[in-house]
């Protein structure tokens, strides 16, 4: 339950990595290349997401002057 936005993004990377790890393990279990292919796709997606996400983090910091996730809860109710 980290409140810092960067930590949230980092945890997201960890999760994606974990999913990719599961794919690769499954692929190597049956000696097929499909697991690695999935991992490549996940990697590409993670890269794009990180790029856009960090750009948004920059905006948020300039707008709200803090990286608290709770501070940007304006879509309430």
């Amino acid at each position: 339950m980290r409140r810092n936005l960067i930590f949230v993004l980092m945890s997201l990377e960890v999760m994606l990595n974990a999913a990719g790890l599961a794919f690769v393990v499954a692929g190597s279990r049956w000696h097929q290349a499909d697991g690695q292919v999935m991992f490549v796709f996940i990697l590409a997606m993670a890269a794009a997401e990180v790029a856009v996400g960090l750009a948004l983090v920059l905006h948020i910091y300039h707008r709200f002057k803090s990286l608290d996730v709770d501070a940007i809860s304006e879509m309430r109710g």
Binding site: R2, V14, V37, A47, E74
Partner: protein
């Protein structure tokens, strides 16, 4: 092979846990890099040299460096540590620990039935390449479009750096307006429209 696998796995888990509990942002990032490199070793042990290299180069190399760039640019290491100390009370770990414990139990339950055999023989880059340009062609194309979208989006979102005075005026107007929640998404597009 087996001991390398367990050691690398243990390092990955440990460094991830450490990353989650750090107060200093940069320390946490470095721990994450360590974790990713350990996972790369695991990949190599499993017989997937291609993704091992890919993980080390792209993930740990490019993406984490991007993180580091942003953190250094925002320059909030010291003040973030102070606020983190405020926020990280022991009580907030109960929820995540409970959920994670349930998940781990479920994973063990699932894994009980499977046979534990590490595959011999590596699946090299050649097989992966054939698979990518064969059945998974469309995935490749989609991924390339996704990367293009990410590139263009990041470019535009980042463009505001050169229009600081205009941005100042915009935030003034934004704060004057009653509902500012929309700006998180619209702000970039509005300014990019004005930029073009």
């Amino acid at each position: 092979m087996q001991p390398t696998f367990y050691i690398a796995g243990g390092v990955a888990v440990l460094s991830t846990v450490l990353m989650l509990t750090r107060l200093n942002l940069v320390h946490a990032l470095l721990y994450l890099i360590v974790s990713l490199l350990a996972v790369s070793v695991v990949f190599f042990v499993l017989g997937a040299p291609f993704v091992a290299a890919l993980e080390a180069i792209v993930y740990a190399g490019a993406i984490m460096v991007l993180f580091l760039f942003v953190v250094m640019m925002l320059n909030i290491g010291r003040s973030a540590a102070v606020t983190e100390r405020q926020w990280l009370t022991p009580g907030i770990w109960t929820g995540p620990v409970v959920l994670a414990a349930i998940l781990i139990l479920e994973v063990f339950d699932l894994a009980r039935g499977a046979s534990a055999g590490l595959g011999t023989g590596a699946t090299g880059p050649k097989e992966v390449g054939i698979a990518l340009f064969g059945p998974y062609m469309i995935g490749v194309e989609l991924a390339s479009m996704l990367l293009l979208a990410g590139l263009v989006g990041a470019y535009h979102l980042g463009l505001r750096k050169t229009e600081k005075p205009e941005m100042q005026r915009d935030t003034g107007i934004d704060e004057g307006r009653a509902d500012t929640g929309r700006d998180l998404v619209l702000a970039g597009t509005d300014r990019s429209a004005r930029a073009t």
